[in-house]
């Protein structure tokens, strides 16, 4: 069972954990919806469909082994995410958004 596509067994279950991303309509970004347990990719897709997409919430699903996610740590908060509010030129606030543009 242990190969690239099956993440290692996690402590909370005998089945590995997968992260679920749903797309609400075509062209929209896939957004994180939650996670499911599953033994392999096909089952993860089916479980995600049953848990997160059965009421028409999604037109597309992405499933990713949780172990494949690389996350920043709370310790990174300062150096990674300091907004640099004192440098106004970093923020794209001088542009005018044309009328009729949606999804920005």
């Amino acid at each position: 069972m242990a190969n690239e596509s099956t993440p290692p067994v996690t402590a909370d279950s005998q089945w590995p954990l997968w992260e679920v991303f749903t797309q609400s309509k075509q062209g929209a970004p896939h957004e994180h919806a939650g996670s499911v347990h599953a033994a392999d990719a096909e089952q993860a897709l089916q479980n995600a469909r049953d848990v997160y997409a059965r009421r028409g919430e999604a037109t597309s699903l992405w499933i990713v082994p949780t172990s494949a996610i690389v996350a920043s740590t709370p310790g990174d908060a300062g150096p990674f995410f300091d907004p640099g509010n004192d440098k106004a030129y970093r923020h794209p606030q001088f542009y005018k958004v044309p009328r009729g543009v949606r999804g920005l």
Partner: protein, 263 residues
């Protein structure tokens, strides 16, 4: 259980064959949906619990629409609720397969797979029949049942080709349930009567394709299909195994204890 109401195999169609025909389709879904709902809260893992409950709800929804149509065809004022809750065991027309108890998870999955593989073929044929309402309901149900088949097929592979324990349980379930599969392909005077009105389903071709699907999944699941054996029959004529009565008692008690209650 044999009852005093047992009817002989039908040689002549009843007064309203289409009513009986739709009832058979509806009752399969009602009974199997109720069986699956018994898993709610008992699934092997949260995600599968939700999946089985979803499938149960799909079947209850299909049954509700089909029973409503049956009541309309009958024209005696019976609604889907009357038909679901106020008929007795001998009036149910479901196949024996779907009333078999859930057993262990392997039994539930094998029962589901054998039914799903048959159901998608029947619904596919029914969506082209010359009865607009029945065809529309079949088309809608087919979408759901295709997913059910995908789900149960995956589990067949997982159980059959899984551990020694899961393989043994899946094989046992297949051996035990196989004798209920022959009934799915039976035809009688009711089928002939509705076929004359444009509701023709080619059972021989469906049987051949069903055998292909089942053989393919069984092979990949390393399971052995049982050979030819005597097949159980009777469900389509209201002659059921002892399990249906117990199930109906539970399913119907609230509606019968509080007639007309709403919430």
């Amino acid at each position: 259980m044999t009852t005093p109401h047992v009817a002989a195999p039908r040689q002549t169609p009843p007064a309203n064959p289409l009513f009986e025909y739709v009832l058979r389709i509806a009752d399969d879904r009602l009974v199997l949906g109720h069986r699956l709902s018994e898993w709610c809260g008992h699934g092997p893992i949260l995600e599968e619990d939700i999946a089985l409950s979803n499938i149960a709800l799909d079947f209850i929804g299909q049954a509700s629409a089909m029973l409503a149509l049956a009541g309309q065809i009958e024209g005696q004022g019976r609604t889907e609720d009357t038909l679901a809750y106020f008929r007795d065991e001998h009036e149910f027309r479901n196949a024996l397969l779907v009333e078999q108890p859930n057993g262990d998870f392997a039994v539930t999955i094998v029962r589901q797979f054998l039914f799903d593989a048959w159901s998608v073929l029947v619904l596919d044929a029914l969506q082209g029949v010359k009865h607009p309402q029945l065809a529309a309901l079949a088309a809608k149900s087919l979408k759901e049942d295709r997913y059910h088949l995908r789900h149960s097929s995956e589990w067949m592979l997982r159980l059959g080709d899984g551990t020694a324990e899961s393989h043994a349980r899946a094989q046992r379930a297949l051996d035990d349930l196989w004798r209920f599969t022959g009934e799915l392909f039976e035809t009688d005077a009711i089928d002939a009567a509705v076929a004359a009105d444009g509701i023709a389903v080619d059972h021989a071709s469906i049987r051949a394709r069903w055998q292909e699907i089942v053989a393919d999944v069984a092979r990949r699941a390393t399971l052995t299909l049982p050979g030819d054996a005597p097949m159980a029959t009777g469900g389509r004529r209201g002659r059921h195994s002892e399990h249906l009565g117990h199930m109906l008692a539970e399913m119907q008690i609230v509606a019968r204890s509080h007639p007309g209650a709403s919430w």
